[in-house]
């Protein structure tokens, strides 16, 4: 109990932020998994990190540009401080999903092939950006790039909450269109729904959610929570509504529990959250298999 009190006292936003990040990833993950574009999740996490690495080069000072437009000082504005990493990770991710959404009907390469190319290029340019970064310690840069659940601040918690509200709002308001195009884009087009536009909107939301979440909780956590909770939901549920309910519950409950274990047994929080979710998946899978 004492460990729990210490944890809540020391890292309140880490606990709350992990719940929000888990919910965002597990919710988006249902669409990623059901669209059979799981690799897109892995690619977006790497692209987002490459975006953050790019921001360290300080080639274009977006923060200064926005501060000038708004007439505010960067030093006095909490939001504008560290705005560049968020901006570039989002920009890189959105550019990636725009390119990806246009690849559905081309016949030269498979979508997996295209994602594979983006994946390795993202990792390669990240390394190159880091090498040219003014920050000397590469290990330090890598740790900044990859985020950590335990260091989620109040500001990051608020951003995660905004991403969650935005994602849920868009998927609630445009549920019909997004459900139809992700189920059967060809028929949706034939029935008058502009599948190209709606798929683009879908991928932009996914790109936004994944890139920002990766920035705060790390690529391993983000990718794992895109796949594992939704896979558990799909394994257990017989109704679509229940897939969402179970996935989101797993995404919300497992991260804070795993932070507790990580804290108690002195493990890194991200990997512990992944392993805990995997163990739950394994139990569910075995029970499902035994029940036939």
């Amino acid at each position: 109990m004492e460990t729990l009190y210490q944890l809540v006292e020391l890292f309140p936003y880490a606990i709350l932020g992990s719940i929000l990040a888990g919910v965002i990833c597990s919710f988006l993950g249902i669409f990623i998994v059901s669209q059979r574009v799981v690799f897109l999740g892995a690619v977006l996490t790497q692209v987002a990190i490459a975006g953050v690495a790019f921001s360290f080069l300080h080639i274009i000072h977006i923060e200064t540009f926005i501060a000038n437009i708004l007439g505010v000082s960067i030093q006095e504005n909490n939001f504008l401080q560290n705005f560049e990493p968020i901006f570039y990770s989002l920009l890189f991710a959105i550019l990636t999903v725009i390119v990806f959404s246009q690849t559905h009907h081309q016949k030269y390469l498979t979508q997996d092939g295209i994602l594979g190319i983006i994946f390795v290029v993202a990792i390669a340019v990240r390394i190159m950006f880091i090498q040219k970064s003014p920050i000397a310690d590469i290990a330090e840069v890598e740790s900044i790039l990859k985020g950590d659940i335990l260091f989620i601040s109040q500001k990051e918690f608020i951003i995660l909450a905004l991403i969650l509200i935005f994602t849920l709002s868009v998927f609630t308001i445009f549920r019909k269109q997004l459900q139809f195009v992700t189920f059967d884009a060809e028929s949706a087009s034939a029935h008058g729904i502009n599948s190209k536009v709606w798929l683009l909107i879908f991928y932009i939301i996914v790109g936004t959610g994944i890139s920002l979440t990766t920035r705060f909780v790390g690529d391993v956590f983000a990718f794992a929570y895109l796949i594992i909770p939704s896979s558990i939901g799909i394994l257990i549920s017989k109704k679509v509504k229940n897939v969402f309910l179970i996935s989101v519950l797993v995404g919300a409950i497992v991260p804070p529990i795993s932070i507790y274990f990580a804290f108690k047994f002195d493990f890194s929080s991200g990997p512990t959250a992944v392993v805990t979710a995997f163990l739950l998946f394994l139990i569910v899978f075995i029970i499902k298999k035994l029940r036939g």
Binding site: I30, S34, F180, F183, D184, S187, S189, V240
Partner: protein, 251 residues
């Protein structure tokens, strides 16, 4: 003479600047029943997409009356991982007709129930779509197209990979839809005998070849040779066409 609702004039279809088929002249009237046949890659799907307005014509003109399309894709292209019920799938047909903020109405539900009843799937409405047989899935997709309350129904290879009873049962259903609901139907199929026996008009399409007209007028061994670059034998048995590839006949 029924009212003309669709007209292609000197049309070339394709993707970007790549022409898949050209010289297309088609005039479709209300309650027409049209079969589209041709070899793989001939442009059947491209023609459908042009008709639906999903791709632009490269050349020529397409005029359409105020028509609403119901589309039945090849069922292999619809393989959801999520456990959608038959009712959920058919309800999607209503999504294109109502605004984003509008809730699913009792009218929507009634139309979905009616569509399911018409194709004989009411008992299976709560079943998982993935657990259905091929024939049941195809019927579900037809019900979804009917839920759109279409004037034109387009079916893309609806009997592909089906066992014989399901195959003929589905062809009966399509004929019934044409006769009872007075729908204009486009049926894409590679099964020549099927198409020739149930449709009224036929489109023969290949890269550099296009024919359209009444079945009796278009269906000839010469036209089939020009379309498929293979020889066929056409015979009439008990008033029904039997179309056999010549090499099969020799065997």
């Amino acid at each position: 003479m029924n009212k003309e609702i669709i007209k292609f004039t000197d049309a070339s279809i394709g993707y970007g600047k790549t022409v898949v088929a050209s010289g297309i002249n088609i005039s479709i009237a209300e309650n027409d029943f049209v079969g589209i046949v041709g070899p793989n890659g001939a442009g059947k799907t491209t023609l459908l997409k042009s008709l639906l307005g999903n791709i632009k014509l490269i050349n020529g003109n397409l005029s359409k009356d105020q028509i609403r399309f119901g589309y039945v894709p090849q069922r292999d292209t619809v393989q959801p991982l999520l456990p959608y019920t038959v009712f959920d799938v058919v309800m999607m047909g209503r999504y294109s007709l109502s605004g984003s903020l509008k809730k699913i109405s009792s009218e929507d539900k009634r139309i979905v129930e009616e569509s399911l009843a018409y194709i004989g799937m009411s008992d299976l409405k709560d079943k998982n779509y993935n657990s259905l047989s091929g024939g049941q899935r195809q019927r579900t997709l037809i019900a979804r197209a009917l839920a759109v309350e279409p004037t034109v129904l387009i079916l893309d290879e609806p009997t592909n990979g089906m066992d014989t009873p399901s195959h003929y049962s589905l062809l009966d259903l399509i004929t019934k839809l044409h006769n009872e609901k007075k729908l204009t139907i486009f049926l894409v199929s590679h099964l020549l005998t099927d198409v020739a026996n149930i449709v009224k008009k036929i489109i023969l399409i290949d890269k550099n070849y296009f024919q359209f007209g009444e079945v009796e007028e278009i269906l000839s061994e010469t036209n089939l040779r020009n379309t498929y670059s293979s020889d066929f034998h056409i015979s009439l048995v008990d008033g029904e066409y039997v179309i056999t590839p010549i090499h099969l006949k020799k065997n």
